[in-house]
């Protein structure tokens, strides 16, 4: 391949990268047979990958005027909600029951130990445990979504029980109205 042609291709890819975030990213419906376009593939390296869609970060709960704790920690290999987190469940449930337009995303996490995809299952089990507890307190299922990151998104970077205990958690993230 000539140097000129290589340069042309590099420029063309650059243009795709630059152009992508300006376009609304079309996400194919679930199991769509249509190929995700080249531009979307390139777009992954930009920031149009979800953080811009209002799903990514917990937003300040300005209108409620209260601080509600939003992380529940778990014991090793367990999805049981410990008694000290009953108050967290209750206060979150009250807030959600009072405003049916509020939605929570329950993000389940594990520590780094064990097989990655199996840990995705364990994280989901934790998120589901929190979901059931909130529903028992009167929250509508439609207000709750779960996702599991397994061991992929630790908050603590260490490799001892001190870090692991922080990483075994479900984060209750406001997901908009």
């Amino acid at each position: 391949m000539t140097r000129v042609l290589k340069m042309a291709l590099v420029v063309a890819f650059g243009a795709l990268l630059a152009g992508c975030p300006k376009k609304p990213t079309t996400v194919p419906s679930a199991d769509s047979k249509s190929a995700v376009s080249q531009a979307s593939t390139a777009g992954v390296s930009g920031d149009a990958t979800g953080r811009g869609r209002g799903l990514a970060e917990a937003t300040p709960m300005g209108d409620t005027n209260v601080t509600v704790q939003s992380i529940i920690h778990f014991d090793y290999d367990s999805s049981a909600i410990k008694p000290e987190y009953t108050a967290v469940i209750t206060s979150q449930a009250k807030r959600l029951a009072a405003n049916r337009t509020l939605k929570l995303r329950l993000e389940g996490h594990t520590d780094e130990r064990g097989s990655s995809e199996y840990n995705i299952g364990l994280g989901e089990r934790r998120a589901q445990a929190v979901k059931r507890a909130l529903m028992l307190e009167g929250v509508a299922e439609a207000q709750l979504a779960t996702v599991s990151f397994g061991a992929e998104r630790p908050v603590a970077d260490g490799h001892s029980e001190a870090a692991w205990s922080q990483n075994r958690r479900v984060e209750l993230v406001d997901a908009g109205r």
């Binding site: 194919p28 199991d31 799903l55 990514a56 097989s115 199996y118 299952g121 779960t146």
Partner: protein, 439 residues
């Protein structure tokens, strides 16, 4: 290509195209040598060989003989003679003075030349048994200056197979996930590199987790899980074009893709609204889904049997995770692993006789080899967190993720446990290795 003794051995046009196009997609910030490989355990009983520097056509970007030598040395099956100890540096088989090499207790001498070949060049090489004087191999491999390393890996594969009687796995590639940055601003990259860590190319770059890369049986596509959009989905990406499809993006979990041997289906893990994980079969043409497991436990990490008729998978239906096998035609799963409280993430050996699994061993997570028929288990590694095993296509080695000193790198171990290597990334962590099929 012309072969000195009539056997085919040319580099496929497909592989060449792959290298060129993936190269164009690469991030300019990435150098060619992203990983460093260290032999951490080896046998003293390697077969003594000498790879004499190949005669050149002037300065070339790659020292082909050193690529061959590094491959053979890294396998642990050969002891390579340092260049400074070589009694002569012949460039033809006729120039080899066998007696001089026999004194050094070298069994095999490889010599070679780079010669013009049309618009490109060719690597000619010959292997001589200096004990018998017999010429074992003589080949010419057409190549280009851009694919000289690959040509070297081909030479190493041919020497390995001729002397050991087992196909080599040097001219292969690996896919892995590279993670950089502190938890808050972490960054994930899906990387494809040569099996020796060279020619690393980023094929996907995301601010959300990437997991579980899996090579299609023909080596042209990768399936993987990406959390872009903050929900996991299974993608299939064609390496040559970079084009990809989201093949499963249902609500809930979409994970653990495994290719059927014919490359037409993926076994994947999906979750129900109640969060229960089961294994499904996804036909890539029709997009038809078939349920394979049905149990309230976690069923995940499927892996096809060699004949494609059944799946191995991880399930904690008995309390802790163990490996089970289920026929695709239905029926009850049978449990495969019984030794140890934790066995997960099975990968089948190319001969179908054993599984590499993650097992709990003395409080640590390690790679074990499980005999499929007897269920007997043998722990191969000694790390604290060894996970994600992947077989070399010749079945001789297993690559896996290994945490050592707080850092996740890759490692390999031979299936007899005698040879081990450690592969570290230049920066950050590397994990989730997937060894390509023979390319």
């Amino acid at each position: 290509m012309h072969s000195f003794n009539g056997r085919p051995g040319s580099i496929s046009a497909l592989t060449l195209g792959l290298l060129l196009l993936v190269g164009l997609l690469s991030s300019p910030a990435w150098g060619d040598s992203e990983l460093t490989i260290q032999i951490t355990r080896g046998t003293a009983a390697g077969i003594p060989v000498a790879i004499v520097p190949f005669a050149g056509m002037g300065p070339l970007p790659v020292d082909v003989a050193s690529v061959v030598e590094a491959d053979l040395a890294r396998s642990g099956r050969f002891q390579t003679l340092p260049r400074k100890d070589m009694p002569q540096q012949p460039t033809t088989a006729a120039g080899i003075d066998a007696s001089q090499w026999r004194i050094l207790k070298t069994d095999y001498v490889t010599i070679g030349r780079l010669v013009p070949n049309g618009a490109g060049l060719a690597v000619e090489f010959e292997v001589v048994n200096v004990l018998t004087g017999q010429r074992l191999l003589g080949y010419s491999i057409p190549t280009t200056t851009e694919t000289l390393r690959l040509a070297g890996h081909r030479v190493a594969d041919m020497i390995y197979e001729k002397i050991l009687g087992i196909p080599g796995a040097f001219a292969t590639r690996i896919a892995y996930v590279s993670i950089e940055g502190p938890p808050k601003t972490r960054h994930w990259r899906l990387v494809v590199a040569d099996a020796d860590g060279e020619n690393a190319r980023v094929i996907l770059d995301a601010p959300e987790p990437i997991m579980s890369p899996a090579w299609s049986p023909d080596g042209t596509r990768l399936a993987y899980v990406s959390f872009e959009g903050r929900n996991p989905a299974v993608f299939v990406q064609t390496l040559v074009t970079g084009a990809r499809e989201r093949v499963s993006g249902r609500a809930g979990i979409n994970g653990a893709p495994a290719w059927s041997p014919d490359g037409r289906k993926l076994a994947i893990t999906l979750s129900q609204p109640d969060g229960n994980l089961d294994v499904f079969l996804l036909d890539l043409d029709s997009r038809q889904l078939t349920r394979i497991t049905e149990d309230p436990a976690i069923d995940t990490e499927p892996c096809f049997s060699v004949d494609g008729q059944s799946l191995y998978f991880t399930s904690d239906r008995a309390g802790r995770p163990q490996i089970y096998r289920i026929g695709l035609a239905g029926g009850k799963p049978t449990r495969v692993t019984f030794e140890g409280a934790y066995n997960a993430r099975a990968r089948i050996a190319p001969d179908g006789k054993s599984l590499a699994v993650v097992t709990q061993d003395q409080g640590a997570y390690r790679i074990a080899l499980v005999d499929v028929d007897s269920g007997r288990s043998r722990v191969l590694t000694s790390g604290s967190l060894d996970i994600a095993p992947s077989f070399a296509p010749n079945g001789q080695n297993v690559m896996y993720s290994s945490r050592e000193g707080g850092r996740a790198g890759l490692a390999t171990v031979s299936v007899d446990g005698s040879v081990a290597t450690r592969i570290n990334g230049r920066a950050g962590e590397v994990r989730d290795p997937a060894w390509s099929p023979k390319l």
